[in-house]
C-alpha cells in the first residue's frame, strides 16, 4: 500500500511539471511580458520606461529560460521560468500585483472557503443520495417520473439564477439571513447558512439523477434478487445491499472533489462576499493579476492529483477485494 502511494506520488511529478510548463507557456510565451505590461498600463500612450519599470517590479525583466548574462547555475535560476514557475513546487508563489504574499493570502483565505464548501458538499451528498434512493424505491411509478422531470428541470436552471433568486427571496423578501458578508468565529454561521442552502439546492438536480442511474443499474444484479428472494423488505435491500454496493461508482465521482473543496466556489463566494479563495481567484481574474491566477492553477492541479490518489485508496476501504499494488 505504502509503496503504491509513493509510486503514485512519483507519477504526479511529470503531470505537475506538465501543468507548470503549460501555464508558463500560456502566460509568458504566448504573450511576452511586454504585451502584458502594455495591457496593464493601457495600450495607448505607454512609454518604454513605464514598461521596464512594470516588469522590473514584478521580476519579469529576466530572460525566459536561459540567462546568458549570468554565471554558473544562475544562468538557469535567474530566469522567469525558474523564478516564476519552478519555485511554485516549494510553495513559493511570489507576490500579487498589490504586493501581498500569495502563499500567505492563500492560507488565510482557505478557512472561509472550507467553511462554505464542506457543509455544502456533505449536505448535498446526503440530500442527493436520499432523494435518489427514494426515487429508486418508487421506481417506475408516477412519483419516480415526476422526480426525474423535476431533476431535469432543476438542472436546466442556471446556477446564477439559484444564487440571485435565493438572495432575493430569503434576504430581501423574507429577511431571514444577511444578503452577503462574513465574520470570523461562530458569527459566521448566519452568513453561511444561505450560501450553503443555495449550493445544495443548485447541485441537487444533476447529482440526484446521476445517483439514480447508478442505483438502477445496481438493482438489476443477482445479489439483489437473492436478497429479495430471502424475503428481505425492499427498504433493507436498498439501504443495506444496494447502497453499499453502489459505493464504488459513487466514490469515483465524489472523492476526487474533496481536495478541490479548498479552492472554494467562484460564484458563491463572490456573490456572498465571502473572503475565500474563490473570490480571491475571481478578483484576480478581473484585475488581470496573472501571478495569482497562475498560482491558483497550480494549486488546483495539485489538489486534483491528491483527489485521484484518495479515490484509489478509498476503493480499498469500500471494497476489500480491491488491492493496490
Amino acid at each position: 500500500m505504502l509503496a503504491y502511494i509513493i509510486r503514485r506520488l512519483l507519477y504526479a511529478i511529470p503531470i505537475l511539471v506538465g501543468v507548470n510548463l503549460l501555464t508558463f507557456a500560456l502566460f509568458f510565451v504566448v504573450n511576452t511580458p511586454d504585451d502584458m505590461a502594455r495591457m496593464q498600463l493601457g495600450v495607448k500612450r505607454v512609454t518604454p520606461e513605464a514598461i521596464q519599470k512594470w516588469k522590473a517590479e514584478r521580476g519579469y525583466d529576466k530572460p525566459l529560460v536561459w540567462n546568458s548574462a549570468a554565471a554558473g547555475g544562475a544562468r538557469l535560476t535567474d530566469t522567469i521560468l525558474f523564478g516564476k514557475s519552478v519555485r511554485m513546487f516549494v510553495g513559493d508563489f511570489g507576490r500579487a500585483d498589490d504586493g501581498r504574499d500569495i502563499a500567505r493570502e492563500i492560507t488565510t483565505r482557505m478557512g472561509p472557503s472550507l467553511a462554505i464548501a464542506v457543509p455544502t458538499f456533505v449536505l448535498g451528498l446526503f440530500v442527493a443520495i436520499s432523494f435518489a434512493l427514494l426515487l429508486v424505491f418508487f421506481r417506475a411509478t408516477t412519483l419516480d417520473f415526476a422526480g426525474v422531470v423535476l431533476c431535469v428541470a432543476l438542472m436546466s436552471i442556471s446556477g446564477l439564477f439559484y444564487i440571485i433568486g435565493g438572495q432575493w427571496l430569503v434576504s430581501k423578501v423574507w429577511h431571514l439571513a444577511p444578503i452577503s458578508g462574513y465574520s470570523g468565529g461562530l458569527d459566521a454561521a448566519k452568513f453561511l447558512i444561505l450560501p450553503v442552502i443555495i449550493g445544495v439546492f443548485g447541485g441537487i438536480g444533476s447529482s440526484t439523477r446521476w445517483y439514480r442511474t447508478i442505483f438502477l443499474e445496481e438493482i438489476t444484479r443477482d445479489y439483489v434478487r437473492t436478497a429479495r428472494a430471502k424475503g428481505l423488505p425492499e427498504r433493507v435491500v436498498l439501504f443495506r445491499h444496494v447502497l453499499r454496493n453502489a459505493l464504488i461508482p459513487i466514490l469515483t465521482g465524489v472523492v476526487v472533489v474533496i481536495p478541490t473543496l479548498f479552492m472554494g466556489s467562484l460564484l458563491t463566494e463572490s456573490f456572498f462576499g465571502i473572503p475565500g479563495l474563490g473570490s480571491y481567484t475571481i478578483d484576480a481574474i478581473n484585475a488581470q493579476d496573472f501571478a495569482v491566477v497562475r498560482s491558483m492553477v497550480f494549486i488546483g492541479s495539485v489538489l486534483y492529483i491528491v483527489g485521484l490518489l484518495l479515490t484509489d485508496i478509498s476503493y480499498t476501504l469500500a471494497d476489500p477485494r480491491v488491492r493496490l499494488q
Binding site: 511529470p14 503531470i15 504573450n31 481574474i285 492553477v297
Partner: protein, 472 residues
C-alpha cells in the same frame, strides 16, 4: 453605377455555423440509408417528449440562423456625392433578424422601463417645473391618450388579438397536416381526447403540433403587444429586452455547437489512437489528458481567455469592424472551451476502443492484413459513433449554461456581444435598486431555461435511443 442595396457580410462564425448545418443535413441523409441508425433515430422520432423538445429547439435554431445572415446596409448617398462611383455601406453590421425586428431595435427609450409600461422607471425634471416626475415613454404606449385611459383595455385587446392570430395559424397548420398527412381510420379516444389530427400520423406529429400551439400563441401575443409596448421592458440604455433576449440565442447556440466542433476531432482522433495503437502513443495521450484535466476547468479557461484578450488588445489592426473583433473573441472562446473539454470524451473513447480491439471482427480484419488506420476508420470509429453523438448532445446544454457563468467571471464573450451572460451580468448590478429592476434577469433566465430544458430533454431521448445499455 449602383451597388446592391445591402452588402452581405460573412463573419467567421456564420460560415462555421452554416458548414455545421450542412454537415448535419449530410449526416442525416447518410444516416437514412443505414439500417441501425435509422432504427435508433426512429425511436427518437417516436418519442413524444423528444419531438416536443426538438420543436422548441428548431424554433431557437431558426432564430439563430436568421441572426447569422449578416449584412451592411447601403448608405444613402449624400447630395454632393451623387456622381461618385460605387456605393457606401454602413459600418454597422446587421443581421436578417435585426431587419425583421428593426422596430424593436430602433425604438429605444432613455433608460429602464418596466414591461408594458407607459412611463420611464426613473424620475426626471419635466419642463421648467421643479417637480420631478416619471416621463412618458417615447414608444411604449405612445398611442394612448395623455390620461392613459384604456391602458388595460388596450393590452387586453392586443393579447386577445395575438392569441386569435396564433390560434388561427395553428388551426391552418392542423388542417394542412390533416389533408397532406397519410389518411387513416380514426382510432378511439386517446389521452387528449379526440385529437384533431389523424391518429395514424402517430404521436410525433401530435407532439409537434401540441408544442407549436403555445409557441404560436406566445408569438402572436409578442407581435401584437410588441407593436405598442416593450413587452419585457427596457434595459439601462433603453434597449428593448425582448430584442436582446432574441439576439442572445445565437450566441448560446454558437457556443454550444462550435465548441463541440472543436472538441470532437481532437477527442475522436486521440481517443481512438490511444486505445488502438497502445504503447508509447497511449502513454503520451493519457499523460496529455490527465495533465489538462488536472487543471480546474474555469481556471484553465480563464487563463487562456486572459491571454487571448491580451493578443486581441495588442493587435487592434487585425479587425476591420468591432463586429469582427467580437466575433473573433467568440470563436476564440469556443476554441478554448473545446481545447479544455475534449479530455472526458477522449477518455471514454479510449476505454471503448480497448474493448473493441479485442473483438472478433477487429481481430479478423487484422488477420486479413487490413491496415491499422483502415481498421480504426472502418471498424472502430463507426462503433463509437453512438458515444460521440451522446456526448455531443449532452454537452450542448452544459455549454449554454457555462457561457453565462464565464461572462459573469469576466472571461466570457466580448462585452459588446449580446448574450445571456452579458444580459445577466449587466442586470445583476441593478438588483439593489428599490424597486427592483427584475425584467432583464427574468427574460434572460427564462429564455435560457427554455433552451436548456429543451436541449436536455432531447439529449435524454437521444441517449436512450442510442445507448445499447439502456435499450437492453
Amino acid at each position: 453605377m449602383t451597388g446592391l442595396p445591402v452588402q452581405p457580410v460573412l463573419l467567421w462564425s456564420d460560415a462555421l455555423l452554416f458548414v455545421l448545418i450542412a454537415a448535419i443535413v449530410g449526416l442525416a441523409l447518410w444516416a437514412r440509408r443505414q439500417e441501425a441508425l435509422r432504427a435508433a433515430w426512429g425511436r427518437v422520432l417516436k418519442d413524444g417528449v423528444a419531438m416536443a423538445a426538438a420543436t422548441v429547439l428548431a424554433v431557437f435554431v431558426l432564430i439563430g440562423l436568421l441572426d447569422s445572415l449578416h449584412y451592411r446596409a447601403r448608405l444613402d448617398a449624400a447630395p454632393g456625392e451623387q456622381g461618385l462611383a460605387g456605393a457606401r455601406y454602413a459600418v454597422e453590421v446587421n443581421s436578417a433578424l435585426d431587419a425583421l425586428l428593426s422596430d424593436l431595435r430602433q425604438r429605444s427609450e432613455k433608460t429602464y422601463s418596466a414591461p408594458l409600461a407607459t412611463h420611464l422607471f426613473a424620475k426626471e425634471a419635466l419642463g421648467d417645473s421643479a417637480q420631478r416626475e416619471f416621463p412618458r415613454l417615447k414608444h411604449g404606449g405612445a398611442h394612448l391618450d395623455a390620461d392613459l385611459s384604456g391602458h388595460e383595455f388596450d393590452i387586453a385587446v392586443r393579447v386577445s388579438r395575438g392569441c386569435a392570430g396564433g390560434l388561427l395559424i395553428w388551426l391552418l397548420l392542423v388542417l394542412a397536416v390533416r389533408h397532406l398527412g397519410p389518411a387513416g381510420p380514426a382510432a378511439g379516444p386517446t389521452l387528449v381526447g379526440h385529437p384533431p389530427w389523424p391518429t395514424k400520423v402517430g404521436p410525433t406529429v401530435g407532439a409537434v403540433l401540441l408544442t407549436l400551439l403555445p409557441i404560436l400563441l406566445l408569438l402572436g401575443i409578442a407581435i401584437s403587444l410588441g407593436g405598442g409596448y416593450h413587452v419585457f421592458g427596457t434595459d439601462k440604455v433603453g434597449q428593448d429586452v425582448l430584442y436582446l433576449s432574441l439576439k442572445s440565442i445565437r450566441t448560446g447556440l454558437l457556443i454550444g455547437t462550435l465548441t463541440t466542433l472543436v472538441m470532437l476531432p481532437l477527442a475522436v482522433l486521440l481517443g481512438i489512437l490511444a486505445g488502438y495503437v497502445g504503447g508509447w502513443v497511449d502513454d503520451l495521450i493519457q499523460y496529455l489528458y490527465t495533465t489538462l484535466s488536472s487543471i480546474p476547468g474555469v481556471l484553465l479557461i480563464a487563463a487562456a481567455v486572459l491571454m487571448m484578450q491580451v493578443i486581441i488588445d495588442t493587435h487592434p489592426d487585425w479587425f476591420a469592424t468591432s463586429a469582427e473583433r467580437a466575433d473573433a473573441r467568440l470563436l476564440a472562446l469556443c476554441l478554448i472551451l473545446g481545447m479544455t473539454s475534449w479530455t472526458g470524451v477522449a477518455r471514454l473513447l479510449r476505454g471503448e476502443t480497448l474493448k473493441l480491439r479485442e473483438l472478433e471482427f477487429v481481430q479478423a480484419a487484422q488477420a486479413f492484413g487490413v491496415g491499422r488506420f483502415a481498421i480504426m476508420r472502418r471498424h472502430i470509429l463507426p462503433n463509437l459513433m453512438h458515444i460521440v453523438l451522446i456526448a455531443l448532445v449532452m454537452d450542448f446544454s452544459g455549454l449554454v449554461l457555462a457561457e453565462a457563468v464565464l461572462s459573469y467571471v469576466g472571461v466570457g464573450v466580448d462585452p459588446s456581444t449580446i448574450s445571456f451572460g452579458t444580459m445577466i451580468n449587466t442586470a445583476r448590478m441593478e438588483l439593489a435598486r428599490e424597486p427592483m429592476v427584475w425584467w432583464s434577469l427574468a427574460a434572460a433566465f427564462g429564455f435560457m431555461f427554455a433552451l436548456v430544458l429543451a436541449a436536455n430533454l432531447f439529449a435524454d431521448a437521444v441517449r436512450d435511443a442510442f445507448d445499447p445499455r439502456s435499450s437492453a
